[in-house]
Symmetry: C2
Subunit: 274 residues, 2 copies
DNA sequence: GAGTGGTCTAGACCACTGT
DNA sequence: CAGTGGTCTAGACCACTCC
């Protein structure tokens, strides 16, 4: 026997979804108002709203009070290349100041930090929680230097990333400039700044997860409903396998594409053609 | 002057959220029923439902018809190490069958494919769309071999990943076994299977994005509301920089952690201690 | 001021889960 | 069967946008 019919709001959501996907309602176009849909389909306004909520959650529609509901225009993705970016950043940091290119780290489009304008840098110290203490191999409660940034591509835009970086306070204190937001060694970047205290970063480990945004993050990153955030925990390791820096980056899920490149060692003997 | 008060459903959502975060409502515990909350707070049931929907979208609560609303128990994350996995897989694939370890690719916990049970393998051919055609550098419409899999950690569980892999049909046809799900060369894995047609994979490029799940994906991956999926496009490149395989993997955002390791070349001269 | 979406109510019936 | 969440209605008022 046939399935019981789907709920009315679901039927309407499906119908609108179809109209969007087949181009009848192109990106940027406005949906009929809630009262129109309610009349046309003979269902209550609450049901219409439930249908539209489905579409918002699915990322197909944006709604704006007093104006209407619009088919979402996909936002351009920012492509980030952590692999090549890290290699490039270390190369740059290794050069003497004199021969370092004019192009700052800011101009290299691929990385996680210093994309363009950086504002709201807050420095403070926090006691290590269990998680961070384990990573740094220090007792819980050890004093950590915490630095927070927001990065935005242009002055008017919403920030593209929220960055929080941690390192043991005792380590950072070997160069007092690292403790002061206004004296931070230029150019920025974990690798160069750690080099000022005699540390060479040999490896980064990026741990990538996704989760729904907190209220705060949704506001700051200007996230539409239904989108989630990337959380990248970037662990910097030195030649002795000590963790020397941990940086958490929160990125908007709908505007970010992460590209990792993995080179594989060549085989001693190439495979035979069949 | 003070802000206008937040809507009632928002106030209730905040209050419940606080109770969850401070442990008064521990993970797994049941929330008061909608009618109870409605009475206790003197608001309509619709407002209570709006409050609970907020919590569901934030990933804090799961609701189940006929039973109640429960504080969500965070699901264990599956850690995937594409970097080391790819290197290991190529190493294994390079060994002669005789010296290959008993441990199959299945047992290596880190990768994207062949985690455990693999079912629903569907093979077919599709014409290349513009995107895929560009990647493979073939004319749009060129015939591609498409292989689809679902992977699940145990027979009863929901699948952990939905995999779709593409390669030019002409390329795959050099080994007819690749065209037949029942004869697919063992062990699995892109690298080994491509080696049977004389191709050595030299590089993988992982392109990682996140988006809301389609209805289909939400069902198959058993995703709670509000969670999104990872989409990993894994591009395999040979020594001549030809793209030889493209694999799209859809992973549940709430149960996946991706770990990429980036080794950096050493500096010629180590940094000086200050 | 007209029209939009946002909040809210009171009440009804249905579908599912447990006992 | 009682109790839960899921769907739905009809109507009201508010807040915002745009003309």
């Amino acid at each position: 026997m046939p399935k019981r019919s789907a709920p009315r709001y679901q039927l309407l959501a499906n119908e609108l979804s179809r109209l969007i996907l087949d181009g009848t309602l192109p990106p940027g176009s406005i949906l009929p108002s809630e009262s129109e849909l309610s009349e046309q389909h003979g269902i209550s306004r609450a049901s219409v709203r439930a249908a539209i909520r489905e579409l918002v959650t699915a990322g197909m529609v944006d709604v704006s009070q007093g104006r209407g509901a619009f088919v979402r225009i996909p936002r351009a993705k920012v492509r980030r290349h952590p692999t090549s970016r890290y290699v490039w950043e270390k190369e740059q940091a290794g050069k003497a100041d004199s021969e370092r290119q004019e192009t700052s780290i800011t101009d290299y489009d691929a990385g996680l930090q210093h994309d363009d304008v950086e504002d709201v840098a807050i420095y403070d110290t926090v006691p290590a929680d269990v998680d961070l203490a384990t990573r740094f191999q220090v007792p819980p409660g050890t004093r950590l230097l915490r630095r927070r940034y927001e990065h935005r591509p242009h002055l008017e835009d919403a920030p593209l990333s929220l960055i929080t970086s941690y390192q043991p306070w005792d380590q950072a204190a070997r160069n007092p400039d690292l403790l002061d937001a206004s004296k931070e060694p230029w150019p920025g970047g974990t690798i160069h700044q750690l080099s000022t205290i005699g540390i060479e970063v040999m490896r980064f480990i990026d741990e990538v997860t996704a989760r729904p945004p907190t209220i705060d993050e949704a506001g700051k990153l200007n996230l539409p409903d239904g989108t989630s955030v990337f959380l990248i925990r970037k662990v910097a390791v030195d030649a002795d396998n000590n963790v020397v820096d941990i940086t958490d980056a929160v990125l908007p899920g709908d505007r970010t594409e992460l590209i990792y490149e993995i080179d594989l060692p060549a085989w001693a003997t190439p495979p035979l053609q069949p």
